[in-house]
């Protein structure tokens, strides 16, 4: 019998229509608005070429957002990967409470960014926050640090919150990869006299590398897409000092600078695609499994 009758085409067409209308069209030809003078007051939108890009590239807030976004993504990725591999290796030793510990370490990942953001804004509160109190108790004089009051301390808090929230993914994914390594590989290496480091370097690491790569890619992409925690913790402030690409798009939009917002969105989209392509190119092991 014909495949098309057994597996009807409309099964595929319906999902693809939804995907095309609600994602693909806005994310491709929707960006044409970046080349117009669109804002809520303009009556007839007209084409202005690359004018918006010239303007936003002269604007300091784009550079700030770019630096913030990259710093957040890179720092987060390093921490999540290192913590993920480290804790997973320890958890994989199979002592009695390791399943419970896995549950604990993954737990922050189930909460909304809203919850995580509010918790961290409480912990890092200037007057009453636990962090300042602990710093005071261990002898830091005048531990009244205004964590969210200036750029780098605020970004540190944002990053701490992001790492707290997503380290569990790193742990769980790496642990699953570790558990899929056949025990006799390691047994055989032990027999041949390989020490702990050698076993890690030559057996464990190559076998978990695909999972670690996926982990790095997702950490990078979601780190670059950072939006909600910044909105809750700093709102992009003070000024536009802690804005990321994601929040800058919202803030330009709420200042009625529609075409500029779309332009930034387009730059952001191109940046993410480039990062993903470069990463895939350089992590061939991940590619090989596809």
């Amino acid at each position: 019998m014909h495949l098309k009758k057994i597996y009807p085409t409309y099964f595929m067409i319906i999902p693809l229509i939804v995907f095309t209308i609600f994602f693909l069209i806005p994310s491709t030809i929707g960006y044409l608005y970046a080349f117009t003078d669109w804002n809520p007051y303009v009556e007839k939108i007209k084409f202005v070429g690359v004018e918006n890009f010239v303007e936003i590239f002269q604007n300091k807030s784009l550079t700030t957002a770019f630096v913030n976004t990259v710093v957040i993504a890179v720092v987060k990725t390093v921490f999540v990967t290192v913590i993920g591999v480290g804790i997973a290796l320890l958890l994989n030793r199979g002592f009695r409470t390791n399943k419970m510990l896995r549950t604990v370490y993954f737990m922050p990942a189930i909460f909304s960014a809203l919850i995580v953001g509010l918790i961290f804004s409480g912990l890092f509160d200037t007057q009453n926050g636990v962090i300042n109190q602990v710093l005071g108790a261990i002898g830091v004089k005048d531990a009244q640090i205004e964590w969210l009051g200036s750029r780098w301390p605020a970004l540190t808090v944002v990053n701490a919150a992001e790492i707290w929230r997503s380290a569990g993914y790193g742990v769980v994914i790496t642990l699953a990869a570790l558990q899929s390594i056949p025990a006799d590989y390691l047994e055989a290496a032990k027999m041949d006299g390989a020490n702990g480091w050698q076993r890690f370097r030559h057996i464990i690491l190559p076998m978990i590398m695909p999972a670690v790569n996926v982990n790095i890619l997702f950490s990078l992409i979601y780190g670059l897409k950072m939006f909600d925690l910044i909105l809750i913790l700093t709102g992009g402030g003070p000024g536009h000092e802690t804005e990321s690409f994601g929040t800058l798009i919202l803030s330009e939009m709420s200042r009625d600078r529609y075409s500029q917002s779309v332009s930034i969105n387009l730059i952001f989209s191109i940046m993410l695609v480039i990062v993903a392509i470069l990463f895939q190119k350089y992590s061939k092991k991940w590619e090989a499994k596809e």
């Binding site: 597996y7 806005p26 929707g30 002592f95 909304s112 939009m253």
Partner: protein, 273 residues
């Protein structure tokens, strides 16, 4: 052997101490939610003099939580059903009818995971369709945005379902929708549960898309209403924490009863690719 046991014990103890970084903030939220206004002007781990369950009642009455709870439930449930069904159908056809087209679908799905949300173009498109600000618009956007990841999970599972099952059913005269709904879909139950749970968790917790796509506060989802509640009651950490507990309750329950499915989904997506 004895040395190994000792090492393991030390590791277990240090990991539990490290785990306190996770546990302590969560306990703080829980105890603070039961304090009086005076006790709770900051987040701390001290116990309340007397547990104030009345905070939860107050949050319900003042925080308009009931309304946004209903909004969140409607939006989440329909979006999850939509994305699960659509991804299952798409993956089924992709995996069974291996065509030249597949490589292209794979590419645009990957683009779907990578690309950022095109905020204003999406809003403009929804306005053009005259559905901006409605429940269905948000549901369809969620369906489109979450389809790629769900499709990866379904596809890798469907590739393990033997095609002989389809062949046997076809011989019995079962094709098309019947074949899918009566024969194949029931076999996909484990991955369906995983996809459903993960999407439930992500959509329930989500905060970004409603900000852009819901313009009236009467349609706000829970995270949005808690966000605005926090703005109004900045210093009432007891009420804010009670609110946070209520918002998290469904995902906590999900995690307690279905951790297996959530974790297996995360790892299957990543480890198998």
């Amino acid at each position: 052997m004895k040395k190994e046991k000792l090492v393991n014990a030390i590791i277990a103890v240090s990991l539990w101490i490290g785990g306190l970084v996770v546990i302590i903030p969560l306990i703080m939220v829980l105890v603070t939610s039961l304090k009086t206004y005076g006790e709770a002007n900051f987040l701390s781990i001290s116990l309340p003099a007397k547990p104030m369950f009345v905070n939860y009642v107050q949050v319900f009455t003042e925080g308009k939580i009931w309304r946004s709870f209903m909004n969140s439930t409607i939006i989440t449930v329909f979006s999850v059903v939509l994305v699960t069904l659509l991804s299952a159908m798409l993956s089924y056809i992709i995996m069974r009818r291996k065509s030249r087209f597949n490589g292209f679908i794979h590419k645009i799905m990957t683009f779907g995971i990578i690309a950022p949300f095109a905020a204003l173009p999406t809003i403009q498109l929804l306005k053009g369709l005259h559905i901006y600000g409605t429940y269905p618009s948000l549901m369809f956007v969620y369906a489109a945005l979450f389809m790629p990841f769900s499709t990866i999970l379904f596809s890798s599972f469907i590739s393990t379902v033997p095609i002989e099952i389809d062949e046997a059913a076809v011989i019995d005269g079962c094709t098309g929708w019947n074949l899918f709904a009566k024969v194949v879909f029931p076999l996909l139950l484990p991955v369906t549960v995983t996809v459903g749970m993960l999407n439930f968790m992500w959509i329930w917790n989500d905060f970004q898309y409603p900000i852009f796509l819901l313009n009236s506060s009467s349609k706000w989802t829970l995270p949005l209403s808690v966000y605005s509640f926090f703005g109004q009651y900045n210093r009432s950490w007891n009420l804010v924490c009670a609110d946070m507990v209520l918002v998290s309750l469904p995902v906590i329950l999900l995690y307690v009863f279905a951790q297996k499915y959530i974790v297996s989904g995360m790892t299957a997506g990543a480890v198998k690719g």
